[in-house]
């Protein structure tokens, strides 16, 4: 057994400006440290969060990140939701393809973030905004 995580509130970080992406990275790092993720897992989660927060800003027209401690009864981890009320993603399969960008990025944000986390869930449709939930568990 591991010591039970203290009850945590959701840390809501608005994403409306460039430097908010930096704030999301820092808040996710803090949460990952608290959940005792290894250094490599912290780095993977923060990198995924950076990619997704930038997408929320650039493609979602702004939104928010919700960061919380996760606990499945066996393991601790960190869960982060990225939500916006932007245009949504019409062709999700295309958007998840390595190298695909509708802007001038490298097209690695969505596909790369999915590889870097343990759970990746995306809820989106044209005109309905985008909500992405990622979870990384401590090993």
């Amino acid at each position: 057994m591991y010591p039970a995580a203290a009850p945590q509130q959701v840390n809501l970080v608005p994403i409306v400006r460039d430097d908010d992406v930096v704030r999301v990275r820092q808040a996710v790092r803090t949460a990952a440290l608290a959940a005792k993720l290894s250094l490599v897992d912290q780095t993977k989660l923060v990198t995924a969060a950076s990619e997704l927060a930038r997408n929320t800003l650039i493609y979602g027209g702004g939104g928010r990140a919700e960061i919380e401690q996760a606990d499945n009864g066996r393991k601790r981890g960190v869960r982060v939701v990225f939500a916006d009320e932007g245009p949504g993603i019409a062709d999700l399969e295309l958007a998840m393809t390595d190298g695909y960008t509708s802007g001038n990025g490298m097209g690695l944000g969505l596909s790369g973030a999915r590889r870097l986390v343990d759970e990746f869930d995306i809820d989106t449709a044209a005109g309905r905004g985008t909500r992405i939930t990622v979870t990384k568990w401590a090993r």
Partner: protein
Amino acid sequence: MDRVPVLKIGDILLVSIQVDMDDNTALALQDTLTERIVETSAHGVIIDITALDIVDSFIGRMLSTIASVSRVLDAETVVVGMRPAVAITLVELGLSLTGVRTALNVERAMELLELSRPARASSLSVVGDGLDVFDDDSPVA
């Protein structure tokens, strides 16, 4: 927006990224470095990323772009101080940092740049990917 200072040591420019940069700061650094390479006729650029705890696709692209632009301007770029956790994450993200040379630390990067110097001074040619235009400005002692 924070500015990233660029130091000049001989004909090498040294940049130590100290902050968690937002995207605009990264783009500004890219522009500043390009201007400084031209102004100073630098032959090498060393970018120290020891302080960076992540490199995402935006920073990765910045590093690749600086490397290709500097090459066109006859300067070689070496990135130093990448943390092991960052390197592991980059691979999984799918980023290959095309054209970016890396070294363990600033001293090694200096040696690397020193080694590549005779070759560049003696050739007047378009080589490899067709982007490397070497001029034969001053003979090196």
